[in-house]
């Protein structure tokens, strides 16, 4: 297949990707808007690509610009070494991050919706389909290939030497290929679902779930890394003493240090060799990652692990035979096995993680921060309970055909959120009580669990009118979102006020009252 033909054919797959992104990220999709969005996909792509490429190129060269056009009104000039270091780091970090984000999203959708499978029935060679898959998944990243070239040319203009330009461009391309390889590999890992009870199957499921949660948390983790890294580097430097100079070997610092080393003839050869080695390694990583992605794309998403074997049917325990317990158990299992369906359940963990560095830095602020996290979690869990409704997808018929009552359905969803949150909040509250002193923290943690249940149940009771056996997907509009935020405010507001003005013990009474109101609301549902 010619490249031109492949690019034309990949346009169809890309339109499908645009369609899937639109329907999966918006609660209420207007059909006319959807049609327009898909029809204008290629024009949007061209515009967005041009803007993003320009933005990345500008970010990469912006530290160098004062050296080309020195500012008139500033007293001190810009040091060449500082400018090179900043430019190298910004270029590699931004190219890696943006390439990873865009390619991960596209490749994951390609696998999740098995978009390549229909092509397998057409008279196309595997090599052709592989090319189509690559172009479609990396279509949004391919224009970024211009950025390292622009960066290299600018470096050439600033330094007047070819070596820093080549090293800079080389690290740019290495970042792009590394990001592509990582995103392809990642989507191959998280898209597969493993069947069976064997240890191997359990481990495979655990790895998939953990990878997804870590990816979701990557923004939080990266932001924490940035704030911790300077302290970490200084601590390591102190610890390893003379060996701290070896930092130039480690990517992405090597990109910055390599540019500086290329200025001196003595250090030019090791810097160039290292740049070439990283480029080669990134190409290998890309090749490995893409081949994993490709193999995953043409094989079933659900993977059977181990031989089929007969199962002895045991009756479930009498104590568990209630609709609410049934749905609760189902939701917990599904959320763990397929965290895409309920990723909001994990957000409280991320909230506490994001406060972690601040807790270490300032123990006095810890109490305030933890209380904020407890309150924020109740809002997140309200949204998580809505997400659990959405996760039913088009399977509502199954629950209603078997006679579930909305009361049981809503209670189960609210309980799923509350119990998974309680497993996190109560230990944190207890730990804070032990470490920071006052019992208030444990009290606040318990109150936030009660508030989460109350807010989730009341908000879901409001949304329950949209749900029935014919519901294909639980959706809420902007008005519903505002109502839910208002309801959350009404439930949590008095608690927060009392906690601030009077104290946590009195506030916990408000949380108990909220719980009572929630139970009354639930009892009115049928």
């Amino acid at each position: 297949m010619r490249l031109r033909e492949a690019i034309r054919l990949s346009g169809f797959l890309y339109r499908e990707l645009v369609y899937l992104r639109m329907v999966s990220t918006r609660a209420n999709v207007d059909m006319a808007r959807l049609r327009r969005g898909v029809r204008w996909a290629s024009i949007n792509y061209a515009l967005v690509s041009a803007i993003m490429t320009a933005m990345l190129a500008l970010s990469s060269i912006s530290p160098l610009l004062p050296l080309i056009w020195p500012p008139q009104d500033t007293a001190g000039g810009v040091e060449l070494v500082d400018a090179l270091r900043a430019s190298g780091l910004v270029s590699t970090a931004m190219l890696f991050t943006f390439s990873f984000m865009l390619c991960a999203s596209a490749s994951w959708l390609l696998q999740e919706y098995e978009l390549l499978k229909p092509l397998m029935h057409l008279p196309l060679k595997h090599g052709d389909i592989r090319l189509l898959a690559f172009i479609t998944a990396s279509k949004e990243v391919l224009p970024f290939l211009l950025v390292p070239a622009i960066h290299g040319i600018t470096l050439m203009l600033v330094v007047g030497l070819p070596a820093p330009a080549l090293i800079g461009a080389s690290y740019g391309y290495a970042s792009i290929f590394l990001a592509l390889g990582a995103s392809f590999s990642l989507s191959a890992t998280v898209s597969r679902r493993h069947s069976g009870r064997s240890l191997r199957a359990r481990l495979a499921r655990a790895v998939s779930t953990l990878t997804f949660v870590l990816c979701m948390a990557s923004t939080f983790i990266l932001s924490q890394m940035v704030s911790l890294i300077t302290r970490l580097v200084s601590q390591i430097s102190k610890f390893i003493g003379p060996f701290s100079s070896l930092l130039w070997l480690i990517y992405p610092f090597s990109a910055a240090e390599g540019l500086i080393m290329a200025l001196s003839p003595t250090s030019l050869i090791p810097a160039s060799a290292l740049a070439a080695a990283y480029l080669l390694a990134s190409l290998l990583a890309f090749d490995r990652g893409f081949m994993r992605f490709w193999r995953g794309s043409i094989s079933p998403i659900y993977v059977g692990v181990g031989e089929a074997r007969e199962v002895r049917i045991r009756p479930p325990s009498k104590l568990t035979m209630s609709p609410c317990f049934g749905v609760l158990l189902k939701d917990l299992k599904m959320a763990y096995r397929d965290p895409r369906t309920a990723y909001m359940l994990f957000t409280p963990i991320l909230t506490f993680l994001s406060f972690f560095p601040a807790l270490i830095e300032d123990a006095k602020a810890a109490i305030m921060l933890l209380n904020t996290a407890f309150l924020a979690s109740s809002l997140m869990l309200t949204m998580a309970s809505y997400q659990l409704l959405v996760a039913e997808g088009n399977s509502f018929w199954l629950l209603f055909a078997n006679g579930i009552r909305k009361k049981d359905l809503i209670s189960a969803k609210a309980l799923t959120c509350t119990l998974s949150y309680a497993a996190l909040a109560i230990p944190i509250g207890a730990l804070a009580w032990l470490l920071l002193g006052p019992l208030d923290m444990l009290l606040n943690a318990t109150s936030s669990v009660l508030l989460s249940f109350a807010a989730s149940s009341i908000c879901l009771a409001y949304l329950a009118r949209y749900v029935g056996p014919e519901t294909k997907m639980a959706k809420m509009g902007l008005k519903d979102l505002l109502v839910i935020l208002l309801l959350w405010g009404i439930i949590v507001g008095p608690y927060a006020l009392v906690a601030l003005i009077i104290g946590p013990l009195q506030a916990s009474l408000i949380a108990i009252a909220d719980l009572g109101i929630a139970l009354i609301v639930l009892s009115t549902l049928h």
Partner: protein, 258 residues
């Protein structure tokens, strides 16, 4: 003594915009009978089954299932088994976990449920797939899961929308036996199908629908007598749905006889 009528629809109408899905449909489903619902695509079979399930409210007409209006009394579903045309099951659960979920929603007695499940999964050949994720099952095995879900609680009424799709001949034969067993115990069974041989072989009575209307109704032999020339149900089906001429013209064209 005539068999008791367990479900009844009288002059039921339902429209989706300008499309009339049901246009004055009346029928009765009696205790201990298997009623076949035949009709071309879009004839209103699925809409009729969903109305009997109480999933959708008809625009007009009267519907009664086990003495109640199913839309206003969803509790009646406790005594109905249902297999939908489009299967949407939970792909991340195993069949066993899904059966347990339904047993909990229906509050079945655990020991009786386990015995019944064992019989059904053994009969339909699903026992070695009970620990697989539903997403990894074949279309036929997913259909078995849906059929077992409908039979698990020994319902009084079974409403089955294309239940044989995806089942291999051996399993379809066993499924038919299970239906006979249910019928003999007094269960009223309505099932829609496109496979006319199956309808002819197992149904006590047949209703043929076309464009939202009942165009033929009666015992299989009565239906076959509708037109003296016709010998098979397929020919009667094509005749009463007005498709015969159209279909024969296409066949002639395909054979190059046009």
């Amino acid at each position: 003594m005539p068999a008791e009528v367990l479900a009844r629809a009288r002059d039921v109408r339902k429209s989706y915009g300008v499309v009339k899905a049901l246009d004055g449909v009346s029928l009765e489903l009696r205790e201990g009978e298997i009623l076949g619902l035949l009709g071309p695509n879009g004839s209103g079979k699925t809409t009729l089954i969903k109305i009997l399930m109480g999933f959708i409210r008809p625009d007009s007409g009267y519907v009664e299932v086990l003495g109640m209006d199913p839309y206003d009394n969803p509790d009646v579903r406790a005594r109905i088994g249902y297999v939908p045309e489009e299967l949407a099951l939970y792909n991340s659960l195993t069949p066993k976990e899904l059966f347990d979920l339904v047993a909990r929603i229906r509050r079945l007695e655990p020991a009786a449920y386990a015995r019944r499940l064992d019989l059904l999964v053994s009969s339909l050949g699903l026992k070695d797939r009970m620990d697989d994720l539903i997403g990894s099952l074949s279309r036929g095995n997913k259909q078995k899961v849906a059929v077992i879900l409908a039979l698990l609680h020994e319902p009084d009424i079974l409403l089955l929308d294309e239940p044989i799709v995806g089942l291999d001949p051996a399993v379809a034969r066993i499924f038919k036996e299970l239906l006979y067993e249910m019928r003999d115990r007094g269960c009223a069974i309505m099932f829609s199908t496109h496979i006319l041989e199956v309808a002819e072989a197992i149904c006590d009575r047949i209703i043929i629908m076309h464009k939202g209307k009942v165009v033929a109704e009666g015992a299989v032999e009565d239906i076959l007598k509708l037109a003296a020339r016709e010998k098979t149900l397929e020919e009667v089906f094509l005749e009463v749905t007005g498709k015969a001429h159209e279909v024969y013209e296409v066949i002639k064209a395909l054979r190059g006889e046009a």
